[in-house]
Symmetry: D2
Subunit: 339 residues, 4 copies
Amino acid sequence: MPVSVAILGPTGYSGLEIIRILLRHPEARVAYLGGRREERPHIADIWPSLRSLLDLRVESMEPEEIPPGVDVVFLALPHGVSLQYVPHLLGRGFKVVDLGADYRLKDAAAYKKWYGLEHTDPANLTRAVYGLTEFYRDQIARADLVANPGCYPTSIALAVAPLTKTGLADKATIVADSKSGISGAGRQPSEETHFPECNESVAAYKVGTHRHAPEIEQTLTEISGDPWRVCFVPHLIPMDRGILSTCYVRLKQPLPTEHLQRLFAQFYAREPFVRVRTDGTLPKTKDVWGTNFCDVAVRAVGDLAVVVSVIDNLVKGAAGQAVENMNVMFGLDEKAGLL
Amino acid sequence: MPVSVAILGPTGYSGLEIIRILLRHPEARVAYLGGRREERPHIADIWPSLRSLLDLRVESMEPEEIPPGVDVVFLALPHGVSLQYVPHLLGRGFKVVDLGADYRLKDAAAYKKWYGLEHTDPANLTRAVYGLTEFYRDQIARADLVANPGCYPTSIALAVAPLTKTGLADKATIVADSKSGISGAGRQPSEETHFPECNESVAAYKVGTHRHAPEIEQTLTEISGDPWRVCFVPHLIPMDRGILSTCYVRLKQPLPTEHLQRLFAQFYAREPFVRVRTDGTLPKTKDVWGTNFCDVAVRAVGDLAVVVSVIDNLVKGAAGQAVENMNVMFGLDEKAGLL
Amino acid sequence: MPVSVAILGPTGYSGLEIIRILLRHPEARVAYLGGRREERPHIADIWPSLRSLLDLRVESMEPEEIPPGVDVVFLALPHGVSLQYVPHLLGRGFKVVDLGADYRLKDAAAYKKWYGLEHTDPANLTRAVYGLTEFYRDQIARADLVANPGCYPTSIALAVAPLTKTGLADKATIVADSKSGISGAGRQPSEETHFPECNESVAAYKVGTHRHAPEIEQTLTEISGDPWRVCFVPHLIPMDRGILSTCYVRLKQPLPTEHLQRLFAQFYAREPFVRVRTDGTLPKTKDVWGTNFCDVAVRAVGDLAVVVSVIDNLVKGAAGQAVENMNVMFGLDEKAGLL
Amino acid sequence: MPVSVAILGPTGYSGLEIIRILLRHPEARVAYLGGRREERPHIADIWPSLRSLLDLRVESMEPEEIPPGVDVVFLALPHGVSLQYVPHLLGRGFKVVDLGADYRLKDAAAYKKWYGLEHTDPANLTRAVYGLTEFYRDQIARADLVANPGCYPTSIALAVAPLTKTGLADKATIVADSKSGISGAGRQPSEETHFPECNESVAAYKVGTHRHAPEIEQTLTEISGDPWRVCFVPHLIPMDRGILSTCYVRLKQPLPTEHLQRLFAQFYAREPFVRVRTDGTLPKTKDVWGTNFCDVAVRAVGDLAVVVSVIDNLVKGAAGQAVENMNVMFGLDEKAGLL
């Protein structure tokens, strides 16, 4: 019997991407969609691309209305909304994968500082498992509630972990310079994402103040058993999808590129979705477009290691990793539906 | 003494473009900006590109506040707004170039039909001169009020007039298939113009129902002394600027391409801003990017003449032609500031 | 046992797309790749996106080297090359789907006129079935050699056939104005496809002289049992993928939009990959991005019917339709691997 | 009498941009164009945008053919070519502004290392003045030969100099992460710049090995009187023009953002083309599109100063700064033709 899935928030880009992936998933099916529109529109009226592919209306978001046969609920909701639903969803016995930010920061005070809201569900915050699959696979397998990582933190943690976790990195501030396609800003129109404003232009934004910064530092610290500081600067790139993060890590002692490449290749040798370049090429975001892969390359430059990683922000950075986590939670092949 | 210019509506794309052109104009200067924001922001806070180039605040739009030394007022306002200001502006002795649609359709009933508003200034509607410079130069020179043409009508009328005005075109419906950059939709964010919605995509819109359709038919009819029907279909292209119109005109009798090229070259031989291709190349919008030119090529295909024209929608399609008309109105070199 | 597939020409965009589709196909697998590079590169060195997904080298193109277990050979080759290989491939007992142009025009003289080459395989030209699946399904099921349609002809024939085949269309020249993403130009760099030349620009090209024009006319004529003339003008749009064709067809007598919509909906009611819009919306190319769908809308404008169709030029316009045809040839579900 | 200008290499993007700027320059005129094509094409056949604006053919590149009345020669040539022409041009009494790389690196051995060529004109290498106008204005005023800076070095040196020159920066390796539009790669088509390869994608390239790296280090060292190491990583962005450089500089001791902003504002207070943001906004490349401005913002993030600078790579990063230098060399207003 396939895993039965409900999606709350199917009208945003991550929601659509979950649907797209699950339509091809051999062991899961989309059973329920929940949103806020009173008129309960057909999903094909929201996304014409789904016409003839998925015959569901966007029903209520109320947990009581979700059919009991559902196994897992994906939340693709703004921060501050998920935490209102999670206790009820868990209470009704659903597993939950939250693509939003509400359960990522372990510290409720940090949540309040960065998101400006009191965290009203601290109990589940403690139980939630951070869904960076490569590093939390075992906990995810046992989890009821997975906090799916942010897109930037995924691209940066996967790039930097082989250096921080192995003790090669010096404790100097790590620089993480990320370039993201504009779908990362969500589906709500704004001046920043109005085509003639962002096309033919690059912009840095939230320099050192983006909400993903504490998430990145928390993750590196947890993975590496040591506190790390990261200077994170995101940029908006005139393209739909993709994140390229260029990370600059000071090494305790210089190492040649070949050594670093070998290290990275070994580090990720058994990971199905991390591909390390050792052939002298560098990844571009198009190489992972529409896929759940993270491609990584590393170079030695003076006393720094420069790591370049690319992901599709909507797949490995959101919906794909969410499905990957679902696969782990339900004992399926981790790659099911994702190749 | 330079011509002193006020601009009402400098916060949109056409408004910015008027400023950019006038900053380089040898015989005009921007003296006043008027808008609706109560805080009267500095123009460089609206458009950072203007920092250190223009030291003006966006003051009130009220005609009484415009300094008496101003010679001409450019209106870059939504339809329905210009007609509230024009009578007062003319009454205060300013000349007016209206980049909006309020004075383009000569028939107040047609205005009501297409724009959904009663025309409250029919007297000036009669006096207004349609600012397609190539065809109304003499009237523009004597005009107080110029209705600057729409971007699509400019590109289409210039493409088709050599065939309709010379009696070569059959009376079958002319097909005008236009492709426009997204700045043509204005600066107001919307789902249609949200980057991830319109990037990597082409869309037709308002098939046969766009408000520029009656303007095109009116213009061809006025120029050619005969009623014409046009099937006009606009498309949104993922680029900032530019309109390419491909016009399909049935000829009374087939003519070879060379003949048509010669005809077009002669027709526009004395026009400073229409360049006819006779060398076998076809124009692309980038060839006229940022300029006031309209480049045109013509081909015979069976019983049809296919005419391809390109303009920059913000220049020849808006601000540039507005300045061109100002030049004519004030007896300046028509090309001043525009090369 | 899955259908075993060889691909000759896997280093172009269509070749990659065939691979991508077949990697997800439940009843087919890629068994052999053939190209011209002497060094026989690994496919992942050509396409880094395929790393860890397909472990094949690009071997020789010689028919003798293709393993006998292969069932069908896809040709993604320049015109003039396929016809050198097809006789040998058929002779070795392989079925063939040719994505190129060599077997599309039924008339060898027309082939010579438009492609500048003598057709050296007229026998198979006669046997080849044109792979516009919607109209040639039965013949395709029995065919050994399928000539997969061009991208533009697919988008235009599907748009116009409901009017020509039903006798509603007048015999006036049909105007087909197509807008294509730049992947349609292939993978060979050129000035026209150099990013700073074609980005932020629209261009018409080969006005009335594109090689797809006779293919379109042949197809409409065959489908509708009557000769048709089409004025076909393609345009290059700054995006990777997608074709939107706007077709202007004069009707024998005017019909309301609702009538036309109903007609189209009935015409394609049983087609799995043609979706007719009857809800007042218009399709954009993004709605079919990466899919095998053709979305169509129709409007009445005066005495014309305006039909807008969108496809992904690399899927329904090339690799997807090729796989669709393979499915038909091998008695599989026509939709297998394509949803 | 206007300055009379010859341009060798007018068929590339920088060459076109010099022409565009000089066409609006009140005190200079383009008198001669020299290139390599034997057929001596009209410049409007190379650049249709120049039709009716500049009536010159592209003549020979031989110094003897340049008319004696020419005052200054702009070289927009590949590296290794300029140094073959410069001695002869200077010998004939022309001043020279070289937009290429041949006279930028002061050390002939470094030139050989990075460009792979023996420097055959060491005498003029010594005389050449590096044309970063803000820092070498006095020498430029007296120079016969100006080596116009690279696009990346301009954006990075202007960003970082206020910290290195004032002694605030620690000597740790400076990270310079630059994002460039694709016109920076020149006009020669290649796989990297083929639209469907680079559109919808971001790529890092030449990580730590780009030829601009030694130029950046040389410039910072010369300006600041102290050796500096820079880890420079360029990226290709799917847009025509613009460079955004994000520079990460460790401070000797942390300083608040306000302090840094004030410092930058004072540092560039008298510079006409450097605009420091002190209002909390960050610059995007579109803010300087088509202009000679460099907009700069600075933020304190932990122990780092993050400096974001934007330029138009073809203007301040090439043709604009070249004209700025010409203005200085000939005692004109430095801003002439550039506002």
